[in-house]
């Protein structure tokens, strides 16, 4: 009977230790979350990015957000904000391809407490509207047409039999 009690006692201690380890993992490793709306991000459509903070970084944390383009060396956006329980950002991606959103959270009371996480979002290409396509090609054709008209007029003047 005593041995059973001892086993139960040790099992209880083991369970308590395990739960404390798993809590520590949540605080250190999974305390920045990002939710994007819409889920399928499309170039030219403003995306709502919600960065949520859990655990001990929650209140008054300094959050730095950096968005980098697929082939860009300079970030498209950088900002450092005093996040309370999270940060809400609307960003309109205009280049298709994978973008990296680098988030760094600092504990204001202990600057050594830094946590960072990279989120990679795939931005889908948006088809240009028909009117815009017509506008671009219309303009190019107009320039070409004006050139042709001037060319014909100058040739007729230059090679006219009455000249």
């Amino acid at each position: 009977m005593a041995s059973r009690m001892m086993i139960l006692f040790f099992l209880a201690i083991f369970a308590v230790l395990l739960s404390s380890i798993s809590t520590a993992e949540v605080v250190l490793g999974e305390d920045i979350r990002m939710e994007a709306t819409p889920l399928e991000i499309e170039a030219g459509v403003p995306a709502e990015l919600n960065f949520a903070l859990d655990g001990e970084f929650g209140e008054g944390a300094a959050m730095e957000i950096r968005i980098t383009a697929p082939e860009g060396d300079v970030p498209l956006f950088t900002g450092e904000f005093k996040a309370r329980t999270g940060q809400f950002l609307v960003y309109n991606f205009h280049e298709p391809g994978p973008h990296t959103i680098h988030v760094t959270v600092k504990d204001p009371e202990d600057p050594r407490d830094i946590l960072s996480k990279d989120f990679v979002v795939e931005v889908a290409e948006a088809p240009p509207p028909r009117s815009a396509w017509l506008k671009t090609w219309g303009m190019l054709m107009l320039i070409l047409g004006v050139g042709v008209a001037i060319g014909i007029a100058s040739a007729r003047f230059r090679y006219s039999p009455n000249r």
Binding site: V146, I150, A155
Partner: protein, 186 residues
């Protein structure tokens, strides 16, 4: 009994008068909200090239020219669709919101770096409201317009394309025009 009640009322009025005086101590000077963009005429994003971020700073200054602390700043950047004939090349961005959010500015200032996506005019709107009873003020709004230009090499390339197309048209037109002119002696 009515005398005691009257005395209590008079005492209450005397005690509350400083509070009333403090709460109506004259007109409050409202803080001023400012938006600065540096450089004042930034260039837009160019894929595959070294882009330069524009620095955007939103500041809330009090009547004593000190930064007002603990404010919530709602900030948004919107591209204004132009009526020009020449396209921006990124039609899906024209006239749309490009950046926005609500930010807690504990020091009274909000700084960010941003590469404007396309050329054209942008409307920058900042709205500030207090989150602390110590710095209470009426919500204020500031609007600034920024003109974003194409980098020099883009203007040069576009000009070269237009000139090439025009010259090509003139050559084609001259060849066609020469062939269409009736010859002498026919």
């Amino acid at each position: 009994m009515p005398l005691v009640r009257g005395l209590v009322i008079v005492l209450l009025l005397i005690l509350l008068s400083p509070v009333a005086l403090l709460s109506h101590e004259g007109p409050h000077e409202e803080p001023t909200l400012s938006i600065t963009v540096s450089p004042s005429e930034p260039t837009n994003f160019q894929p595959g090239h070294r882009n330069e971020q524009a620095r955007i700073e939103v500041r809330l200054l009090g009547a004593d020219a000190d930064l007002v602390k603990d404010v919530l700043i709602e900030f948004e950047v919107t591209h204004l669709a132009g009526r020009g004939l020449i396209s921006t090349g990124f039609h899906h961005m024209e006239g749309k919101k490009t950046l926005g959010g609500k930010f807690y500015a504990t020091s009274g200032t909000l700084e960010m770096g941003y590469v404007f996506p396309i050329r054209g005019n942008y409307k920058l709107v900042a709205r500030a409201r207090s989150t602390s009873p110590q710095s209470s003020f009426e919500p204020i709004e500031e609007v600034v317009y920024v003109h974003v230009t194409e980098p020099f090499f883009e203007v040069r390339n576009a000009t070269a394309l237009v000139l090439f197309l025009f010259a090509f048209g003139v050559i084609i037109g001259r060849i066609y025009g020469k062939a269409a002119v009736p010859k002498h002696g026919l």
